[in-house]
């Protein structure tokens, strides 16, 4: 299912990212993006998920003018995509970035401050602050070429934030960072959101996205398959599981529960109608059964992601098979 483009972010106000029908065809007719539409509200952490080759990085690069779209309309921070002065209010940390090895961490951060139109005094002050924030203050005056991968990532984060951006686009920000650093970066993202900034997080790490993101989009094969809040996306998979002491009576099926095997002690309800679940509980108690647990279960982001990947792969396989059959029929 392709997500409804009209789905709007929960938070009110002008959108930080509002893109419609973005397509990108690379040479050799490689269709990297096939009509992507996406809305990200201000002051939220938005996660972009997808397997390798889904088109996530291409989409991010189009938003940051690194890749030219085949077609695209929409706005970033209220200005058309590619509007240069607006880019001064955007911070971007690319995946596998390579900063000038001959600069020190501080010079590097200040350099990107200058590229973001910051005046000298401001960028010096902000560079010092950001190096402190990412835990690189004591390494700031050493050359980037001497840094470990995690340190380069932290410096990259400082460079992305030096211009005090309203929108921060981070492509795999915790790549190469140790667990403590990951936690610090997650905390930093939350602080930025609390300050009213928008964070656009492109990551493979589903658990990380699940921990910090308010809304997510899942991209598969150049299309947005789903987008919305974690609640919205996993809502339809919500189930209520009731566990009793002893065997579960067969009559629970009358309340809309899934079929119960003989001898099982629990039953699951896949329903929005909580009154029916409540009635079932009442009857279980009335019949003297001891309820040992009532839990709400729903798909994890990872489960949802894997299911979508399988669904799309299945669709592609079906279409492929259809094409083969058609071809074979045509050949007869």
């Amino acid at each position: 299912m392709v997500a409804d483009a009209s789905q709007t972010p929960e938070r009110a106000g002008p959108l930080a990212i509002d893109i419609v029908d973005v397509t990108k065809m690379y040479a050799g007719r490689v269709h990297a993006l096939q009509g992507v539409s996406m809305q990200v509200g201000r002051g939220e952490i938005f996660g972009l998920l997808g397997p390798n080759g889904a088109g996530k990085s291409t989409l991010v690069k189009i938003m940051t003018t690194i890749v030219r779209p085949t077609t695209a309309t929409g706005t970033i921070l209220g200005a058309p995509i590619g509007h240069r002065p607006t880019l001064a209010r955007v911070g971007y940390l690319p995946e596998h970035h390579r900063f000038p090895q001959y600069l020190t961490g501080r010079q590097c951060v200040e350099f990107f401050g200058a590229m973001s139109l910051m005046r000298r005094a401001d960028r010096k002050r902000r560079a010092a602050e950001m190096l402190e924030v990412v835990g690189m203050r004591s390494w700031g005056d050493r050359r980037v070429g001497t840094y470990s991968k995690g340190m380069q990532q932290r410096t990259g984060l400082a460079a992305a934030l030096v211009n005090d951006p309203q929108l921060v686009i981070l492509d795999e920000p915790t790549d190469g960072v140790d667990p403590v650093g990951r936690r610090e970066i997650r905390d930093l993202l939350v602080r930025m959101r609390d300050d009213g900034r928008t964070v656009f997080l492109n990551s493979h790490l589903l658990s990380e996205v699940e921990l910090v993101c308010d809304r997510v989009a899942i991209m598969l094969k150049g299309k947005v398959e789903r987008q919305g809040s974690l609640h919205e996306l996993t809502h339809e998979s919500r189930r209520w599981k009731i566990t009793v002491e002893g065997p579960m009576p067969a009559w629970v099926a009358e309340f809309g529960a899934a079929a119960v095997d003989r001898g099982r002690t629990s039953v699951e309800f896949k329903t929005e109608d909580l009154a029916r679940v409540q009635s079932c509980i009442d009857r279980l108690r009335a019949e003297g059964l001891v309820i040992v647990g009532i839990t709400e279960t729903r798909e994890s982001l990872e489960d949802l992601f894997m299911r979508l990947v399988r669904d799309v792969d299945g669709r592609v396989a079906a279409v492929g098979a259809g094409n083969v059959n058609t071809t074979m029929r045509g050949a007869r």
């Binding site: 690194i66 058309p80 001064a88 690319p94 390579r98 900063f99 600069l103 200058a114 973001s116 139109l117």
Partner: protein, 373 residues
Amino acid sequence: MNGADGQALPRLSAADYFVQTWGVLVAAYRELNARKLFWVALVLNGLVIAAMAAVGVDEKGVSVFGFDLPIPLVNTTTYPDGKLYKFIFVGLGVGVWLAWLSTILALLSTASMFPDLASGGVDTMLSKPIGRTRLFVTKFVSGLLFTAVQVTVFALLGFLVIGIRGGSWEWGLFVVVPLMVVFFSYLFSVQAVVGMITRSPIASVIVTLLFWIFVFLVDAGERFTMVGVISARLEIAGIEARMEKVEDEERKSGFTKRRDDRLETLPNWELAHDIFYAVKTALPKTSETAGLTTRALALTTEMPVDEEEQQVDEQERRRRGLFRSEFVSPRKFEAAINQEYESRNVWWVVGTSLGFVGVMLGVGVWYFRRRDF
């Protein structure tokens, strides 16, 4: 342009442009500082000037490190006002060091600038509010810093040596700075475009050196055919002048035949020269640009000679060489060639070469703007 809320969007100011451009230039300077070749070239600059300073000249003759050299006719009488040092500066310093060795070092040192720009390092830059055209051109200008710094140091040291050792404070020497920066820009423009397209520093250096050789060959071809044209014209004029003095009909008809032979070959020389000249016009004129220093310093290339030896020498020179002639003196011939060269407009030399740089930058910018990273 209005934003989504209907309000006018801001534009970049001149101060914004300056902040970014200055930032790129400062980073480029730091990049040069980090390269060993930059410092090697700087030390070599000092050594070339030190070698020049080691030469002493007085009214008796020339010495090196205080040891007299048996070079006739070179003293402060024949070379007054530090002229010998200026010759060394232009001939060895500019002609050999700056125009060849230092340029090769500069090409090697800046080889990775554009391949780096076209590969992993460009993502973050392109996400900033700097247009690709401006980024490419600013990067190109920052690459010229290598030569600008090197030549400025070289000219400053040369200025001091000529002033202290030769007693002539020649401010005109500093013309070498813009000239050599322009000279380097011809080759660097090729290197920038090749580096951008191939993303390979090695490929960009090799292609640039091959291009330089091609330019050199075209220049040599143009010079050769120009000498052929001048030789033929002078020979025809010389034969006709001789014919007027000859009464003997048989000798006269011999001269006529020789003149007609030359008249027959002249159009071929002219056609060949026109072709080379047209190709050369479209290409950067490296050797002529370097040669402008001589013109700027008003140095003649003629060496003082002993008149007696000159007569002997002329007789000898008339008998050898591809363009030998019994009708034209070698000195007159050389003077005609020099005059032809010096009559060439500076704007033709530099202007058309900068036109080439402009075309190359246009190609580079076009490619850079179209490319996805």
